[in-house]
Amino acid sequence: MAMASLAGQTAFYYLAAVSVASATLAVTRRNPVHSMLWVLALFLHVAGIFLLAGAEFLAAVQVIVYAGAILVFYLFFLMLLDLPREIAGPRFGAHWPTCAAIGVGFAALAWYARDPGLLPVAQLVTVGGPPLGTLTAIGRTLFTQFVLPFEIASLILLAAIVGAVVVAKRKTGS
């Protein structure tokens, strides 16, 4: 048990370190395609963190939807870029010191707010339901308590599809 816990801790700190490193590389690389590949590494490692946190279904969705669909979508759009000119230009705007200061300030603030004394206390629920994070538990919650938000999410996705087509459509005629 202690050994399993130690392995879990090691895995978590490995995943966290690689996540932070790949996120940093993703926002600082000059070549946008390299950035995308670092974001892919970030998404896969975050999926590993979800697994460690007991969210199996979320990890699967992360790999399928984020790494599989959204990232490929972004990579397609990178093909529209004028890549050599993009690489030649500066990566950050002239205001980047302000941005870095805002980022450090935000991280410090959020780190301070992470104080364990402020966390809500875990109540030990011992209901004999399905284990947390499995498809059964997620589906039961999603289709009972969250059925209205679920339908609204499907409407939002429909609106996004139609909106993307309308926005990107080539204007013809007058």
């Binding site: 950035s35 705007g93 966390l119 109540q123």
Partner: protein
Amino acid sequence: MVPVGACLGLSAVLFAIGLVGFLGRRNIILMLVSVEVMLNAVNVSLAAFSQHLHDPRGQVMALFVIAVAAAEAAVGLGLVLALGRNRPEVSVEDLTQLKW
């Protein structure tokens, strides 16, 4: 079992990295990707709280965040496409028509 405090710290750092990328990068597509990094950071903290409180609702919220992220990617990249039709370069510094 992941310590929830460490997860929240990781979430804070990832969110800050995404924030810096969103505010600082010149390329509009990379700004949108930075938004995805920020959404992922929020999902990490939702999953951590879900485990901490033994409540599947956090994970359901994370699923909704993923759905909204997909919608945001579709609309955002549609806007970039409409923008790129008029000008090939997608640098935010050139988009100053709405500036006064």
